[in-house]
């Protein structure tokens, strides 16, 4: 797709602006918190840690706060934002459904069921921390949900029709949600219910540096890998028959991308819980800005998703002193008005 209305220069401008905003925001939010650190000191800490400058230059406390405490959280927030927005963009194109988001295939409900089993039923694994077991439980729950959805949706000839896949995702999501409610009602106490509610709104509190080592490389691989599908995703603009006539193996692409996106989503849910609105709204906002071509939508959604999640987490941890807000509340509060404004602009233009 080569929209002149959204020419290369416009896309480049948006890309450079988003990259600048993301990097600038990262420097800014690394210094924001109960102990503020100036942007200059933040840059010095990061530069020193990356080996770009020598010598002490910064205080030990600034180094600990910026690099050891806040950096993993910032990196993880950006990675989760990138992955969710990428998965949202891909799923919206593959299913031809504007309402598609990364949790379309019942992943979040399945993961929640797994997490609840750990939180409320008190499942433990000797030698592993509760947080790690929680992540493993959520990931396994997400995979079980994905397996059930694929088994339900797959036709005899191995086809994976988008309509049936969405319905299967909704059905499995409802079953998993019913399981979660039942476990909380029957076995949970007040604290358990609160913990579950908190988990299902998503949070970056308690993330560890090890999480970034897992999700960071995964994010790089995902962004590069999905970019390799950009042209084929463009071909889905008019549905499967059209894509097939343009030389795309529609079933193969759908299997690879649905499964891949489900696994990426399950990984993010396992670490920080389900966080809504980013995967749904960011691709739409980016399309409104730069047009529908996936070679622009995918990388720019990554930047915009990372930026939105970075600020959503910063607001979540700073808006209410002494208590963190669920990050899902902030993404909804920030993402929805942005989408509404752009939709109104589009309506006026058309």
């Amino acid at each position: 797709m080569t929209p002149r209305r959204h020419g290369s220069a416009a896309r480049l401008t948006v890309g450079v602006a988003l990259l600048g905003l993301l990097l600038g925001s990262a420097v800014l939010v690394l210094g924001v918190g109960s102990v503020p650190v100036s942007p200059g000191d933040t840059v010095a800490v990061v530069a020193r840690r990356l080996g770009l400058i020598d010598g002490p230059g910064v205080t030990r406390i600034a180094d600990e706060i910026v690099w050891q405490m806040r950096m993993p959280r910032v990196v993880l927030a950006v990675c989760v934002g990138i992955l969710l927005s990428q998965c949202g963009a891909v799923l919206q194109s593959l299913t031809g459904n504007d309402l598609a988001d990364p949790y379309l295939l019942g992943i979040s409900s399945g993961a929640a069921a797994g997490a609840v089993a750990v939180l409320v039923l008190g499942w433990t694994v000797p030698g592993l921390s509760t947080n790690l077991v929680l992540s493993v439980g959520a990931f396994v729950g997400g995979l079980v949900a994905l397996g059930l959805v694929l088994a339900l949706a797959t036709g005899r000839s191995g086809t994976l029709p988008p309509g049936r896949t969405i319905l299967a995702g909704v059905a499995i999501g409802q079953v998993a949600a019913a399981f979660t409610s039942c476990v909380v009602m029957v076995f949970g106490d007040r604290d358990g219910a609160r913990q579950v509610l908190r988990w299902t709104m998503g949070s970056f509190s308690g993330v560890r540096a090890a999480d970034t080592l897992l999700l960071g490389p995964l994010t790089v691989v995902a962004v590069v890998g999905l970019l390799g599908f950009a042209t084929r995703l463009d071909a889905f603009a008019f549905g499967d028959v059209s894509a097939s006539s343009l030389g795309v193996h529609t079933e193969r692409v759908r299997w690879v991308l649905l499964t891949g996106c489900a696994l990426l989503t399950a990984a993010t849910v396992a670490l920080v819980g389900p966080i809504g609105f980013v995967g749904l709204t960011v691709p739409h906002v980016v399309r409104l800005l730069v047009g529908p071509s996936h070679r622009a939508v995918l990388p720019l959604s990554a930047l915009a998703g990372g930026l939105l999640m970075l600020w959503a987490d910063t607001l979540a941890r700073t808006l209410s002193p002494g208590q963190e807000l669920p990050v899902g509340v902030v993404t909804a509060a920030v993402g929805t008005p942005a989408l509404v404004i752009l939709l109104r602009r589009q309506a006026v233009r058309s």
Binding site: M1, T2, P3, R4, R5, G96, N97, D98, L227, G228, A230, T231, R232, D234, A235, A237, F238, G239, V241, S242, S244, S245, L246, G247, V248, H249, R287, L288, G291, P292, S293, H294, R295, Q346, S350
Partner: protein, 320 residues
Amino acid sequence: MTADLPHTSGVHNSPIPPLRHTNGVSGMPSAAVASARSGEPFLTAERLSWAAGGTPVLDDVTCTLRPDVVTGVVGPNGSGKTTLLHLLGGLRRPAYGTVRLRGEDVHRMPSRERAQRVALVEQHPSTTLDLTVRDVVALGLVPHRGRWPFGVPVDDARLDDAMRRVEMDALEDRSWATLSGGERQRAHLARALVQGPELLLLDEPTNHLDVRHQLSFLSTIVALGMSTVVVLHDLDLAAAFCDDLVVLDGGRLAAHGPAEDVLTSDLVAQVFGVAARVEHTDRLRVTWQGLADRDATPRLEDRSTARTSSASPTVSGSVS
């Protein structure tokens, strides 16, 4: 309708520059050139069968289509026209039988190569995306692009040429949502041209178009001078614009060959259950007269020899 309808279009008939697999002379893919030289028939469908959920949709259809002519596929609702078109284009795998384009099995071609040689315009293409006409036309470059989307310059001249040939160049920045049915079909026709195909497949392109746009669209198709297979419901349009016809009835081939040989009052009565007058005046015309009694019409089997024997030497067919 005027006598010279198929040739009234003002479209530009200049060829779209080839993208790849071309010999630089005729614009045909090199494999196609080789097979053309070896005397392979252009397109053959041999004993094609396809079923949906155990219900036969197409049954034992065999036909050979000529190059550089417009072949119409006609038949009542549910007779398997779209299925035949999809099988010819390699979009569905037949339960039995083969489709050969210049001797090559289209279902064994790499999908990108197939998309460079065969292009399809769907019946009602729809999208939820905010696309411009140029976006839609540029989709025709998909089969010519590599896996990585960067570093490949967009062939703007190719897009411009395709839009000019179907008279959509003035609307290139228009949003898809604001286009009429006829404009949408033309946009997709331009997209198909950008693919640079040897074979153009059109699935009921005149559906829901008013009569002026029907005539205008089909005139454009004729003026392109390409090897085209078009599914049509309107027999009079098929008679006016198609050189050859493939007639399907209940998933089986009822007849095929030059339109003036195939279209007879008996065939129309038997296949469509309609009494019609078929005349060869300034052009082939089909005029409805009313519903027909199928049982009172001679069976197709009794008339098969006469029809197939009158076909041109480059067209052969079997009547099931």
